[in-house]
């Protein structure tokens, strides 16, 4: 790491250290090469700005900062304020988040830039004056603005002034905090372009702090995801975006409009809970948590080249894998290969859409994965266990399947209560009251009335959509980790179909289960899928993220269009 | 910009403070060698205060401004320790009928601007004052100008004719200030005449400096003064915050002190203490129009019995006073009648007089410390006799206005002049039905006693002093019995001075202030 210009090791920030206050930054380490770039992303309150402040050494008592910030090989945190001032701005500058107060309201732009030059450079006054104007020009501001007061500038102009000010002493490291807040789309774009250009020209090491995926993707080669003061994941921006390893990262990506041009946006459910020092900070919101996570703090560990993730389960786990599945049916002597060497992996909390024309073997594959049909060859593993028979289905947190035909899915002679509670009754889960409670909750989840009148109705009096929802509720009472939905909406009218789909996606987001959704509808896939498998004549011919796969004009996909 | 100014101001202030500190040290050494030199002219410093430009027209009505003016302006007669003494007039004569006053003037009297003083000046002064009454105008009786005419008989004789033969005129004429004709004859608005010329008189002192805002006066002995040599070369009145502190610091040479600190000075050779005559006092006035109960003599007497004057003297005046006489004229007064009735403190007697009835009255007082304290004590002791007082205190102008309008039930009032000519009894107790005199000057609202009225008028016209004294004595006895108002106590007060600095302090026969007496500063022993 000799060539890295800035190296942060185990940096922690603790507010109100005297009163055992909260930690805003926890053991963060990273390094950055000369001219490199790093993005720091996270929701608000995740400690990004605190990290930047700590790097600049701007905290004062009672806030405590631990760990080291090495500039080249000097630990800045050990320097006195006076010595540290030699590094500030001259070596390492920061562009603070834009606010009305970020510039001193009673000093002109010129004065505020000039004082940096005066402090850190030996430039004679006249040269300094000229330099201010050059700097303003550099960030695209006219010279006249130098005589203005901050309140007379627009938000974008203020941002530019901040950048000009930060670059005034030609720092080696530039930290940019939320450079695009409060800017409109066009200005945002310009700002990103400006920063990218400056980075290229000036060759400083750039640290971009943002909660916007777009900013990070366009400005930073590497990215670090922060949650609750911890590093959740780090890696090359490309990789992380394409294949997030932390459930939090995935959530961020799902919530980012720029990463999801077609798909609906879904935020990460739940709020950040007060982070206790032990246990995974993301515990409350994670959809693949295990009991260990509550007590064990995950460490950031390498899971690949340049890729680290802090998860007790080593990143997003793969719930279900199907390896080399072969299945053929003999039909009038002819053997039809329905599944030909199919491989599939479904990770926790994601929606995988299996798409293909009718008769391409989708339902067969789904049945094999669910364990209702045995494969000829190959194996299906659910959470590392072999799926065989109903082993994965007959338990809570297992695999549940919802079928295509609503009318046959539910016994129409049963009451709603009986239908939904059936798996519970079978498994003899809890007392009667508990079951009714669970039934009611499940019905509520699927937006059916949970009152006594409704649950004692017979299923045959229900419409198709209602029956489908009852079926869904029946699956939900088992709290599945994987829900396989086989064309569940194809037999419904468009409106009901839309309702059911939204409901399903909402449930998935809220409950955090993974879903394998089988359909032949491309548009629908686009709306909900995290990943897509395309099946054609028993083979999975394509798979990947929606835009990737669907933009490829491969044969199989073309056929679907 | 602001910063630069601030910086400069800091510098200035800092230097100012440092310099002020250094003069602070210098000051004390300076003042030490003040006393040592005997050959130096005598300088006397007294408590100052702005009392106006010392001309007869523009000194202030309140306070000792009058006595600063008299240092400059002489009158025909002066008030000595025993009575009137010749001053600008060497001799005088009153005609048998009491209507003509002839004054023989002293020769070689010079104005402070070098001009000789003549009989013309005297004539002019009386005529001028008739047209423009000065602040202290004594040329009226009952508001009427009593001088009929003034003539100059020759260079040094002036003859005044008066309207009526009254007993009290000599003092009034004699104390009228004489002003230079050659200066004042052109003055049409004497109140606004405050050039240096306005303070030219024949008196022993010349006004050297007057700083109005500081309240500082400096008088210097007039070299060509006709009369006794001035013992004090320079007389200065300087501003003082607390006169006792100032005296202790040597800033002034005389001060009033209280009994509580008397011992500090009495035992010390360096100081001398004098007790003032009791010519200043408090009295309690009843408004008998407002509360007709007061027309009953018994109630007034009950009041007199229920008030513990000795307690007042002890607690409020801190023993520096004497209980006042029911007959009004205080003990030190030349015509004080010691046989007039006095009311001892006797609650039982008061209750008897009240016949078991209970009363409640409103007492109006000023807001000075002592008045409020007196009111408190009165309330306490009267309560024992069954009289409830509720006290209202206002600033003195409000109180005076209320007194003038008769808008009160009982009022507490304090003033000087108790040693003046016994004619004050007339101004105070006479009720004249014909004139609508203001109660300010005298009279007790709603009170009318024929005998008192008769005696009051009688003494005014009695030119024979011995006979007049008899009338006054009778009047005092009558007043004491009637007790239409209650004199409470007359302050004596103590003054202390440093004999080493100056020891010529003397009293006038009718006044309590040594510093007010211009004879104090003159060598009049021979």
């Amino acid at each position: 790491m000799e060539h890295s210009i800035i190296r942060v090791e185990n940096l922690s920030v603790c507010y109100h250290a005297d009163k055992r206050g909260s930690r805003a930054v926890n053991n963060v380490s990273f390094c950055l090469d000369r001219g490199g770039s790093l993005g720091i992303i996270g929701e608000s309150g995740s400690g990004k700005t605190s990290l930047a402040m700590a790097m600049m050494g701007l905290f004062k008592k009672p806030t405590r900062v631990d760990g080291q910030v090495y500039y080249e090989n000097t630990d800045l945190n050990r320097l006195s304020e006076r010595e540290r001032n030699l590094y500030r701005w001259a070596k390492m500058a920061i562009v603070f988040q834009n606010s009305l107060d970020v510039l001193n309201p009673v000093l002109t732009v010129d004065e505020q830039i000039l004082e940096c030059l005066r402090r850190h450079t030996p430039l004679p006054p006249r040269e300094a004056d000229k330099k201010v104007l050059r700097l303003l020009k550099l960030v695209g501001l006219e010279a006249k603005w130098s005589q203005y007061y901050p309140h007379q500038l627009s938000g974008g102009m203020r941002q530019r002034v901040l950048i000009a000010m930060a670059l005034s002493c030609d720092p080696e490291v530039l930290i940019v905090d939320e450079p695009t807040t409060a800017l409109d789309a066009a200005a945002k774009d310009e700002m990103i372009k400006l920063l990218a250009r400056l980075h290229k020209e000036k060759k400083f090491a750039l640290i971009v702090i943002s909660h916007e995926m777009q900013v990070i993707t366009r400005l930073a080669g590497r990215v670090m995801v922060m949650y609750g003061g911890y590093m959740a994941e780090a890696g090359l921006t490309k990789d992380v975006l394409k294949n997030p390893m932390h459930t939090y990262t995935r959530g961020l990506i799902h919530a980012s409009p720029s990463a999801n041009p077609y798909r609906d946006l879904w935020g990460i459910p739940g709020e950040e809970a007060g982070n206790s020092s032990e246990g995974c900070p993301f515990y409350n919101r994670c959809n693949q948590k295990v009991s260990d996570c509550k007590t064990k703090l995950p460490r950031l560990a390498y899971v690949g080249i340049e890729r680290r993730v802090a998860c007790n389960r080593g990143g997003i786990v793969t719930l279900l894998t199907g390896e080399n599945i072969y299945k053929s049916f003999s039909f009038r002597g002819k053997t039809v290969k329905v599944c030909d060497n199919c491989r599939m992996a479904i990770r926790s909390g994601e929606i995988v859409v299996l798409i293909g024309a009718s008769g391409s073997g989708k339902t067969t594959l789904a049945s094999i994965l669910a364990g209702t049909l045995a494969a000829d060859r190959g194996e299906v593993l659910f959470e590392g266990e072999k799926v065989k028979g109903n082993r994965a289905a007959c338990r809570k947190n297992g695999i549940q399947m919802v079928f295509q035909d609503p009318f046959t899915a539910v016994n129409e002679h049963l009451t709603v209560r009986q239908a939904v509670a059936e798996p519970l009754d079978i498994l003899k889960q809890g007392t009667k009251e508990d079951r009714i409670q669970q039934v009611k909750q499940a019905l509520k989840d699927v937006q059916l009335p949970g009152d006594d009148g409704f649950i004692s109705r017979k299923c045959h009096s229900l419409s198709g959509g209602q029956r489908q929802r009852v079926a869904l509720a029946r699956s939900l009472v088992m709290e599945p980790k994987l829900l396989i939905a086989d064309e569940i909406s194809s037999m419904l009218d468009p409106s009901t179909q839309a309702n059911i789909l939204r409901l399903l996606k909402g449930l998935q987001n809220a409950k955090g289960f993974a879903m394998l959704y089988i359909t032949h509808d491309l548009a629908l896939a686009r709306k909900i899928a995290d990943r897509v498998y395309v099946m054609q004549q028993g083979s999975l011919i394509e798979h990947g993220s929606v835009p990737d796969v669907l933009s490829k004009q491969g044969d199989g996909v073309a056929a679907l269009h | 910009m602001v910063k630069r100014i601030a910086k400069r101001t800091v510098a200035i202030l800092l230097s100012a403070i440092i310099l002020a500190g250094s003069t602070g040290c210098g000051h004390s050494t300076l003042s030490e060698n003040k006393n040592g030199n005997q050959d130096r002219p005598v300088v006397v410093n007294l408590e100052g205060g702005d009392w106006g430009y010392p001309t007869p027209f523009s000194h202030y009505a309140r306070g000792p401004g009058l006595y600063k003016m008299t240092l400059i302006f002489d009158s025909l007669l002066e008030r000595g320790e025993e009575g009137y003494i010749p001053w600008l007039a060497e001799d005088w004569d009153i005609s048998e009928d009491g209507l003509t006053y002839t004054f023989t003037l002293r020769e070689n009297v010079k104005w402070q601007d070098g001009q000789p003083m003549t009989a013309e000046d005297v004539k002019f002064s009386f005529e001028y004052f008739a047209e423009y009454p000065p602040v202290f105008s004594d040329l009226t009786v009952d508001g009427k100008h009593f001088i009929q005419s003034v003539e100059t008989v020759d260079e040094k004789t002036v003859k005044l004719k008066v309207e009526k033969p009254l007993a009290i005129l000599l003092g009034k004429i004699g104390s009228t200030r004489i002003i230079p004709k050659h200066i004042w004859e052109k003055v049409e608005d004497p109140q606004k005449f405050n050039t240096p010329e306005a303070v030219i008189g024949t008196g022993p002192y010349v006004l050297k400096d007057y700083i109005k805002e500081q309240g500082a006066y400096q008088f210097e002995a007039f070299k060509d003064f006709w009369g006794p040599k001035q013992r004090v070369e320079i007389l200065q009145f300087v501003p003082v915050s607390d006169s006792i502190l100032a005296f202790d610091n040597g800033e002034i040479d005389l001060t009033r002190i209280t009994t509580d600190i008397l011992s500090k000075y009495q035992s010390n050779e360096e100081y001398k203490v004098l007790r003032n005559p009791a010519f200043w006092g408090y009295r309690l006035l009843f408004n008998m129009e407002r509360r007709t109960e007061f027309k009953d003599k018994k109630i007034r007497q009950a009041f007199a019995h229920a008030i513990d004057k000795d307690e007042l003297v002890e607690k409020i005046a801190r023993e520096a006073a004497i209980p006042a006489n029911a007959g009004y004229l205080p003990v030190g007064h030349i015509w004080h009648n010691a046989h007039a009735k006095n009311y001892g403190f006797d609650i039982e007697r008061a209750k008897q007089l009240l016949d078991g009835e209970e009363f409640s009255f409103k007492l109006l007082t000023g807001n000075s410390n002592n008045e409020v304290r007196i009111a408190e004590l009165l309330k306490i002791s009267l309560a024992k006799a069954g009289i409830t007082l509720s006290i209202t205190s206002t600033d003195f102008k409000t109180r005076d206005a209320a007194v003038k309008r008769g808008d009160y039930e009982i009022v507490l009032n304090g003033h000087g002049g108790w040693g003046r000519d016994a004619d004050i009894l007339r101004t105070m107790y006479l009720t004249e039905k014909t004139s609508n005199r203001s109660p300010a000057v005298g009279g007790i609202p709603g009170y009318d006693n024929d005998r008192i009225n008769v005696l009051c008028r009688q003494q005014l016209f009695e030119i024979d002093a011995a006979k007049r004294k008899e009338i006054i004595f009778e009047l005092q006895e009558l007043i004491a019995e009637e007790i239409p108002q209650i004199p409470l106590y007359n302050t004596t007060g103590y003054i202390v001075f440093r004999p080493a600095a100056f020891d010529g302090w003397k009293y006038m026969f009718d006044h309590h202030g040594v510093t007010h007496n211009k004879l104090s500063y003159l060598d009049v022993r021979q």
Binding site: - | D242, I244, I257, N367, N369, E376, T392, S393, T394
Partner: protein, 281 residues
Amino acid sequence: MKYVKQGMKNIKGFTLMGKTGMAVVCVVLFLGIFSDRLSVHPYNLPSGSAFEAPGPVHWLGTDDLGIDLWAQICFGARVSMIIGFGTALLAGIGGSLIGICSGYFGGLIDKIVMRVTDIIIVLPDLPTMIVLGAFFGPGIRNIIIVLALFSWTVPARIVRSKILSVKEEKYVVAAKNYGAKFWHLTIRHFLPNILPVVMVSVIRLFSKAIVAEAGLAFLGLGDPTSKSWGLILNHAVNFRGIYFTDYWKWWIVGPSAAIMLLVTAIAFICRDVEKIVNSKI
């Protein structure tokens, strides 16, 4: 009730100084309320000879009339408290109402109110005091009215500026959209917002009034019969030559200590309240 509870909770948040201040104020209140029972001697009658030094009989000595000073201070606590409370409440409530109207209605009313505050600042207090004295008769009430007259501008200005900012808040705009009238807005939205700042300025006014009353007494403008602390002090300070006697050691020190203790205590309470208020904003 709710506010009382909240107030109690807030007192817990006081610093040590604030709690001490609170205790002092409580003690003074206690003195004022039970003044007649706390002292064996009457406050208005001599109970000893003049100028007795502090001792077992007269704890704080006696004054020139021989009245017990401890009794006077107890009773004076009542008078000073009444003056403080009266002025603070009158000026606080009146000023706040005027401030609300001025801030809310703006325009001409606002302009007039602002000019009136200008006038009040330059209005000569001495003659006004005397004029009011003539109208109302002198006394505590008069002093309270005058002090209130000269101090309502402070809360009025504070409230006005607060209202100006609250008025722009979206919830007020929304409430107005729903048709809320002035009174509704005042009670629902304005009062809770201004209450904390008003409280701070009322506490300020309280101690200002006590000190101002003492100052007026010193200038001879108080109500000399009221026996407030300022008056006791005034009597003492105006006693000629007091510095040369021993009397000042109890006669001046006693009431000045009482005044200073009370106002300092209030100042500390004020500081804590301000701190809490500011942390809430």
